[in-house]
């Protein structure tokens, strides 16, 4: 569904992505682990087109999308959430989701109608609000909801474009362990055919949702396999016990 081939990127002398090749099957839920500065976010930026790789390619549903701009990749079914909230602050939860759903349904550039009044938009908004537990806050403004709920909305907005592949950059960063656990339960209840790539800091949390695990260290894939194998890997323990602890 989503594939990278020999992706490589440097910022000046800093080599942040080293020859990364990943392959996600349809419906696969893969977690990316790695210490601070390992290049996880930078990899996401290249996947969605916000950064251009120095070399290598990105393939979505069998097509090479490396040269496609961000918006076009998004319209082909690639959606992401951000590590730091990128919500529309003055708007309500409903309006935030509506903006995304309007783009997906082709209502975002309509002059003759209100996108949020369209049944197809409302349907997506309600469905996503259910999926990520936002129903109780649907009419609240972003400024009126708690940080944890905002993190849920951050993912909700990405989900409201009805993507084929959903990329989530530390969806539970800064959120307490209980709420993180609850959020992973929500992810587990999403449609089984949705392909997910999730950056996660916490190893234990990663095992809640992962079908497969990729570990990045210094921009390089140092592990790619099943959660059980990851659990037993001595290399992982080393990284985990090293720079990881303080995160």
């Amino acid at each position: 569904m989503l594939e990278t081939r020999n992706l490589d990127k440097s910022f000046g002398a800093v080599h942040v992505t080293r020859n990364v090749s990943l392959k996600l099957e349809r419906g696969e839920r893969r977690v990316i682990l790695g210490p601070n500065g390992a290049g996880k976010t930078t990899l996401f930026n290249q996947l969605v087109g916000e950064l251009t790789p120095d070399s290598g390619s990105v393939h979505l549903a069998g097509e090479d999308v490396t040269a496609l701009p961000v918006a076009k990749r998004a319209r082909r079914g690639l959606s992401r959430s951000y590590q730091k909230n990128t919500l529309f602050d003055g708007l309500t939860v409903e309006e935030n989701l509506g903006l995304a759903a309007a783009v997906h349904t082709g209502n975002a550039t309509q002059l003759w109608s209100d996108s949020l009044a369209k049944p197809e938009v409302r349907e997506i908004v309600e469905e996503v609000a259910e999926q990520v537990n936002l129903m109780p806050f649907i009419h609240a403004k972003v400024s009126e909801i708690s940080y944890g709920v905002r993190r849920q909305l951050e993912v909700g907005v990405a989900l409201a474009t009805r993507p084929l592949v959903l990329l989530m950059d530390e969806p539970t960063s800064g959120v307490g362990p209980e709420m993180s656990k609850g959020f992973h339960d929500l992810l587990n209840n999403l449609p089984r055919d949705l392909t997910m790539l999730i950056i996660e800091h916490d190893m234990d949390l990663a095992f809640d949702v992962a079908d497969t695990i990729t570990v990045l260290n210094y921009g390089e894939v140092v592990f790619d396999g099943l959660p059980d194998a990851a659990r037993g890997s001595s290399l992982l323990k080393e990284i985990y016990l090293g720079s990881w602890e303080d995160a």
């Binding site: 969605v48 701009p69 918006a71 903006l99 975002a108 002059l111 996108s115 400024s143 907005v157 990405a158």
Partner: protein, 334 residues
């Protein structure tokens, strides 16, 4: 996205009542001032749509109004086209010009966008100034007003023309609200908040900007066609960048992104100008001092100040929102 609230409705009703009162009771000079306010109000609504709701601070809206005025003048006098058609033509032409400016400018932000629009405005100004068809420095005269005699209205009468402009301003306001509440308007708000995120959601951002800028240009063109009919004579000064600057001052003075505020700003600006210029030739100094005071007060213009002060009296939600905003913001950064 634009929302009405009780305070905004109240302000609109008061403004409309004031304008109607003026239209029915004022003498010639008062009617001229009223019409000047009404036409400026259309221009600043156009500017508020792009600047207040799209973050596109334009310094070419005066020039766009000038394009509308010249287009109407040329089409209705030299080309001999019937005034209503000439008016439609001038609106369409200005809209198209603005769309192109919006499309080209869509990639730049902040000061660079302002400079790009300024450059377009100056290009239009110098073209109109130099090209012989536009009459150069002498301008163009003999411009006629629409003929509404079929419905028994003589627009050459100041009172009728003021009422006509008031009706059109009402329609422009309604259209502005509809634009901002449409799917396009909602996306525009999204783009102003976070362009990168809207792009990541799959939105073709430049199209949204160009379309809204084009629509705003149509309103500016309409204001221009009416300005040409009002004064019946136009000169290149209409396209001068200072007109755009003044429009921006009015929007900020009134309250950026409130629609109602710029209407108040237009009235305040024109009245102030006429009252003060009869007392002192340095009236710009006073307007400047007021603008500085408004900006320094950190309120969003006159109407923003009114809203933060008395909005809560009318609307619970508004009161809650203004009270809650700050502590929650801190959380967001955590």
């Amino acid at each position: 996205m634009f929302r009405h609230n009780t305070l905004r409705y109240t302000a609109l009703v008061l403004l409309a009542a004031g304008a109607l009162f003026q239209a029915f009771t004022a003498e010639y000079f008062g009617l001229e001032i009223l019409t000047e306010i009404l036409i400026l109000a259309m221009l600043v609504l156009a500017l508020d749509i792009v600047a207040g709701f799209g973050g596109m601070v334009s310094l070419c809206h005066g020039a766009l109004m000038g394009v509308g005025a010249y287009a109407y003048a040329i089409l209705s006098t030299k080309a001999g086209i019937a005034p209503p058609v000439a008016m439609a033509g001038s609106i369409a032409l200005t809209g198209a010009a603005a769309w192109v400016i919006g499309a080209i400018g869509s990639r730049s932000h902040g000061i660079y966008f302002i400079m790009a629009t300024l450059a377009f405005g100056q290009m239009a100004y110098s073209y109109v100034f130099e090209a012989p068809i536009f009459g150069g420095d002498d301008g163009l005269g003999g411009i006629s007003r629409l003929d509404l005699s079929v419905i028994g209205v003589d627009l050459n009468d100041s009172r009728s023309f003021a009422l006509f402009c008031l009706a059109i301003l009402g329609a422009v306001y309604g259209a502005s609200v509809l634009i901002l509440r449409s799917g396009l308007g909602r996306s525009l708000t999204g783009v102003m908040h976070n362009e990168q995120r809207m792009r990541a959601l799959g939105l073709t951002v430049w199209r949204v900007k160009a379309d809204v800028f084009g629509l705003s240009g149509m309103i500016a063109g309409l204001a221009g066609a009416l300005a040409a009919q009002h004064i019946m004579y136009i000169s290149p000064g209409l396209l001068s960048w200072t007109v755009s600057g003044e429009a921006l001052v009015v929007v900020i003075l009134g309250g950026l992104g409130t629609l109602v505020g710029p209407l108040i700003g237009a009235a305040a600006f024109v009245v102030l100008k006429h009252e003060l210029s009869s007392v002192t030739t340095y009236w710009h100094l006073v307007v400047g001092a007021i603008l500085i005071a408004v900006v320094m007060s950190r309120a969003n213009g006159i109407f923003g100040w009114i809203e933060s002060r008395w909005g809560g009296v009318f609307d619970r939600r508004l009161a809650d929102a203004t009270r809650k905003q700050e502590p929650e913001e801190a959380l967001n950064d955590a």
